[in-house]
């Protein structure tokens, strides 16, 4: 039987827990665009108690359990959730920092370009933003002993790249593309918000964002 490298790579990435979007795995994402391919991949995954699923914004594919009645699957879900929950504060702080730096009205969308130079330029001219970056680097996800903003920002961007939230583009290594893993994170956050009863922020509560 003839092998299909794209199928193999797609299934391997999904089983490895990666999130496939047009920014992180453009080839695999394009491969998954057609319904017959989706069905083929899904059929394969179902034999391993897994299935193919999309984020709510329909911009990324990921793998989830087909049958959660098995205790090992439930434990796995809890374990995966703990990994996100432990780093959630750091991720939220990063999103907020970028919103303030870019004076953006929304958190990072998939496909957005982040330029290290531009971020650093704005952070280093505002002590409040520098303080936020310092605070960010005290969190486990971005922990570093570097005391300069450039070094701290580099660690943050590198760790987000390792975690699959960013992908470096170009040859300079200082321009990053946001992947659709952010969309997945927003889905998880939306669930937590409902589950834990976290109140939405109102724009009036945030004069700092307006000033920046």
């Amino acid at each position: 039987m003839q092998t299909n490298p794209l199928f193999e790579r797609t299934v391997s990435a999904l089983l490895a827990g990666e999130i496939i979007c047009e920014y992180s795995h453009d080839e695999l994402y394009n491969y998954l665009l057609t319904q017959p391919v989706q069905q083929k991949v899904s059929d394969f995954l179902q034999q391993m108690n897994r299935t193919l699923r999309q984020t709510s914004s329909h911009d990324a594919w990921l793998c989830s359990y087909q049958d959660l009645s098995r205790p090992d699957a439930k434990d796995a879900v809890r374990q995966q959730f703990r990994e996100v929950a432990n780093h959630l504060e750091a991720l939220v702080q990063f999103l907020r920092l970028v919103m303030m730096v870019e004076a953006a009205q929304r958190p990072i969308p998939a496909g957005e370009h982040l330029r290290e130079g531009k971020l650093l330029e704005r952070i280093s001219t505002a002590p409040s933003l520098e303080a936020k970056l310092r605070s960010l680097c005290e969190k486990d996800l971005f922990r570093t002993k570097r005391s300069d903003s450039a070094g701290q920002l580099r660690v943050v961007l590198e760790n987000l790249t390792k975690a699959g939230y960013l992908k470096p583009i170009g040859t300079s290594g200082s321009v990053f593309l946001a992947t659709a893993k952010w969309s997945w994170l927003y889905d998880v956050m939306t669930f937590i918000q409902t589950h834990e009863g976290i109140r939405e922020d109102s724009a009036e509560d945030d004069p700092q964002l307006r000033i920046v």
Binding site: S64, A76, Q80, R106, F191, D205
Partner: protein, 416 residues
């Protein structure tokens, strides 16, 4: 005279910076960005009191007097309220139809001819307004209302434009084909205008408008989602700030009906090995083996050794003699001498033996190697050798001894 001069200077400034001013009016919400490219225009417009701002770091805004002029010359106002404009023109046209029929009935050919040209003019204005009205929405779509920075105001503006497009759409729908046909009757002049030119313009207008409406609705959905996510992140930030060390948990959930966002799999590693039992894979595996051998060398940035470029398989039964270590060899000889008693009074000084051997080895390494080798001898052999250490006490730490030499001697029991 001075006043005239100032006014002329202002008009010249408007002409000079016409492009920037029009761009600000049509696409940037009457705002001129504060950047290096716009320094000249901003200074000039400030000098002529045509822009204003509250803070030094804010973008400059065109003054209302200038905005009104721009509205007039770009027909923005007219287009903005196109539905009302078209409605008014249509009422005028209906009056002209009545006059036209009356003139025709009375055979007043001069009046009929005059009214015909008025009808043509009025209808061309309607068609022009229909085209302009739909074109104006494309500028909203392309800007995405990005010139409005506040999310709530942006959503409100989007709503407002959708409402305006809706009104225009209702007006277009009010032009019923049957009504137009009734209005035209059997008159060839009216038939040409009402059943040919007007329906074509209406059809094109409706097509553009429905596209614009669809895009505006999509923009609205996106803006609302942006607003939701912004509030979501803001809410979490506040919550983390007010609840130090908070970490969400789901241990209380049964997960019988697992919410989709939580259903994430643990990584499932797919590991495969080369099939060494299938001869068909031999060639590929040999190439892989070569790469594996040279990988370490490559990582250090040195050239791979020539011998590693190829893999040589051993011929069955072939053997490669292993080279002897000269230190081991010397120690073996020493031990043999001591045990056999082939030496003077049966004792050897280890350092003398080293200097006599010609080996380039430091004393400490030699002595420790010798001691280790003697320790590793079989108990019977070991019992035949007595080792005497020459030592010095450490001047500071009296428990420590520095070994400065060793004498190997055949033990007395073995001599007997």
């Amino acid at each position: 005279m001075a006043r005239t001069h100032d006014a002329q200077s202002t008009l010249r400034a408007l002409a000079t910076y016409g492009d920037v001013i029009l761009e600000a009016h049509l696409n940037r919400g009457n705002r001129i960005a504060l950047n290096d490219d716009n320094v000249g225009v901003l200074e000039t417009l400030e000098h002529h009191r045509l822009v204003w701002r509250l803070g030094d770091t804010e973008d400059l805004q065109l003054k209302n007097v200038l905005v009104r002029l721009l509205d007039h010359i770009t027909e923005s106002e007219r287009r903005r309220f196109a539905s009302a404009q078209v409605d008014r023109l249509w009422s005028d046209l209906n009056r002209l139809f009545v006059d036209y029929r009356e003139a025709k009935k009375r055979a007043a050919f001069t009046d009929k001819s005059r009214i015909e040209s008025e009808i043509k003019e009025c209808l061309s204005e309607i068609i022009e307004d229909i085209r302009n009205a739909t074109d104006t929405f494309s500028s909203y779509i392309s800007s995405g209302f990005s010139y409005i920075t506040d999310m709530d105001l942006r959503i409100r503006k989007n709503h407002e434009v959708i409402e305006r497009a809706g009104q225009l759409n209702s007006l277009f729908e009010s032009f019923n084909t049957q009504d137009l046909a009734d209005q035209a009757g059997n008159d060839p002049f009216l038939k040409r205008l009402l059943l040919k030119y007007l329906p074509a313009a209406l059809e094109q207008g409706q097509k553009n408008l429905s596209y614009a409406l669809n895009q505006l609705r999509l923009t609205l959905v996106r803006l609302r989602e942006d607003q939701r996510l912004s509030k979501l992140v803001g809410g979490f930030e506040s919550y983390f700030a007010n609840n130090r060390g908070y970490i969400p948990f789901i241990d209380d959930l049964d997960l019988g009906h697992c919410p989709a966002p939580l259903n994430n799999v643990v990584p499932f590693a797919i590991v495969a090995r080369g099939d060494i039992y299938d001869p068909a894979d031999d060639a590929d595996l040999i190439t892989l083996a070569q790469t594996a051998r040279t990988l370490g060398t490559d990582q250090q940035g040195t050239e791979p050794a020539a011998a590693l470029q190829t893999v040589e398989f051993d011929v069955a039964g072939a053997s490669h003699p292993e080279e002897e270590d000269p230190v081991d060899e010397l120690i073996e000889q020493l031990v043999q001498f001591v045990v056999d008693g082939d030496i003077g009074d049966g004792e050897i000084d280890a350092l003398e033996a080293l200097s006599g051997s010609g080996l380039a080895l430091d004393a400490a390494t030699w002595l420790s190697t010798l001691e280790a080798q003697i320790d590793s001898l079989a108990p019977n052999d070991q019992s035949q050798i007595t080792v005497e250490y020459k030592s010095q006490l450490d001047p500071l730490y009296k428990d420590n001894l520095y070994i400065t030499g060793m004498t190997l001697r055949r033990s007395n029991e073995s001599r007997i």
